[in-house]
């Protein structure tokens, strides 16, 4: 298994309610961003609506929408929802 550390921001952090980050275990053969999102949705079903509007960044670079990328345990994943307040 590979552990992926995901930094959480704004609404995602609030809804998941586990602090600054979560760690998601992925089977070594399934280490992609789409699978990561699938696992997060399964473990935290309450985040589903918010997650669909989020941007995913790997090592401080945003992924394109619908892009599926291979990730490893050394990658820093960040889940960033839009913030609209002011």
């Amino acid at each position: 298994m590979t552990i992926i550390k995901c930094l959480l921001f704004a609404k995602v952090k609030e809804v998941i309610n586990k602090g600054e980050y979560i760690e998601i275990e992925l089977p070594d053969t399934e280490c992609t961003t789409n699978n990561l999102l699938k696992h997060i949705n399964e473990q935290y079903p309450q985040v589903k609506d918010v997650l669909s509007t989020c941007l995913l960044a790997i090592n401080l670079e945003f992924l394109k929408r619908d892009e599926d990328r291979v990730i490893q345990s050394t990658d820093e994943v960040a889940i960033i929802p839009p913030v609209s307040g002011g």
Partner: protein, 412 residues
């Protein structure tokens, strides 16, 4: 003593007068600004959408820096609850339109700056005509619908957009539609579901957080005006500030999206649309009255609850606000189980004791009567259906209580 008309022989290549040189001295000697930068600032016209937590520092810093013309759009009036973060307003401005209040502060700070105020809701009908009068737009708004409207309007009028947002302890800032960079829709093509959006009035926000983000917006605006090729404008990158952890992160955004509906290769949005419909929310942060989502049988008005209190009918009053809000103020004899914990095992166990063993009605309460509806539904999923009729939510919540029953109840 020489005559002061000799100024022209002392200053060449620019038309800054002695007062301006004195006022902007520290700025003029800053590398990469100089007299040329100051002249550009003086000639610049910047529109600020929103005169709130972000708009205040943006306006004050740009005014102080000598931006020639500042436009301010805001339909709202100053309230005392704005002042902990909206530092461009004063106690004496309570009830005054925010754009007028902020413009007055700008005048006091720097009388050389011209202001144009728009005391109106920024909508699809008004946006283009207003934006056209300016060179750069700053999004200092507080709601999703306005953010999409401002971004689309900037793409359609080809204006750079300096966008900032903040909530609680966090903020985001970036520049859209600059030098072929991405727009807001390139990043967020689909608006978030309305029910997932937290407003500052529900989630809270700190003054220094909007202060940091607003200051960064002012700085990016100055860099855009200054137009220095080495100026590193925050375009194609999103800066995220976590004030609680004291961390800034700058995330690279892939360039403009070819598939973007408004700035892409084949745009399908060529004029402004109805953004309230698109986002299923208003051009406003204020929440207004909450609509009923639960059946009529599960609704209790504040007047009905007041009658129950007067008749001393036994019941349980369950307040589902977060603990820190419950600590500010609460109705007498109420219990607090925050909405996040309401469907947890020990909470349901407690509720079962009330409805089953004690055979008491349970009235659910929150600030506005929104989350209390969710609470009724969550609890119904977890307890036997024969007890469902004992659960009701109090419509309009504590704000309704303060409005209709007891105006001395604290409002926050």
């Amino acid at each position: 003593m020489q005559d002061s008309s000799n100024i022209a022989s002392y200053t060449q290549n620019h038309s800054l007068d002695n007062k301006e040189i004195e006022r902007y001295g520290r700025q003029l000697i800053t590398p990469d600004i100089g007299v040329q930068g100051q002249m550009l600032l003086k000639a610049a016209k910047v529109l600020i959408v929103g005169a709130g937590g972000l708009g205040c520092p943006v306006a004050l810093y740009l005014a102080a820096a000598g931006v020639g013309m500042l436009g301010i759009v805001d339909y709202d009036t100053v309230e005392i609850g704005n002042l902990h973060r909206q530092i461009g307003h004063r106690e004496s401005s309570t009830g005054v339109p925010k754009c007028e209040s902020l413009a007055a502060q700008i005048k006091e700070l720097n009388s050389l700056v011209e202001t144009k105020t728009f005391n109106t809701v920024f909508t699809s009908d008004t946006a283009i005509d207003i934006i056209k009068q300016f060179d750069i737009v700053v999004d200092a708004s507080d709601n999703v619908a306005t953010r999409y409207l401002v971004s689309d309007a900037c793409v359609l009028t080809k204006k750079p957009l300096v966008s900032g947002s903040a909530l609680k302890w966090e903020g985001q800032v970036t520049v859209y539609n600059y030098n072929n960079g991405p727009c807001y829709r390139c990043l967020f093509p689909v608006p978030p579901p309305a029910e997932t959006v937290t407003r500052c009035s529900d989630g809270g926000v700190l003054g220094p957080i909007v202060g940091v983000i607003g200051s960064l917006q002012a700085l990016e605006t100055i860099k855009i005006i200054n137009n220095n090729p080495q100026n590193g404008v925050l375009s194609g990158r999103l800066m995220i500030y976590d004030g609680l952890a004291a961390v800034f992160r700058t995330v690279r955004i892939r360039s403009k999206q070819a598939s973007c509906q408004v700035c892409g290769d084949n745009p399908t949005i060529t004029q402004l649309i109805d953004y309230t419909q698109f986002c299923r929310s208003n051009y406003s942060e204020s929440a207004g009255k909450v609509e009923d989502r639960v059946e009529k049988e599960k609704i209790l008005t504040v007047d009905q609850y007041n009658d129950i209190l007067k008749s001393s009918t036994k019941h349980i009053l369950l307040d589902v606000r977060p603990k820190n809000q419950f600590e500010i103020c609460s109705l007498p004899n109420s219990f607090n189980i925050p909405i996040e914990d309401i469907d947890k095992e020990d909470s349901i166990e407690k509720i079962n004791v009330w409805v089953k063993d004690d055979q008491l009605p349970v009235y659910l309460l929150c600030r506005r009567g929104n989350k209390s509806q969710d609470a009724v539904e969550s609890i119904c999923k977890k307890i036997d259906s024969k007890f469902h009729s004992q659960l009701k939510h109090i419509k309009d919540g504590l704000l309704g209580w303060a409005e209709s029953i007891d105006p001395s109840f604290p409002i926050y």
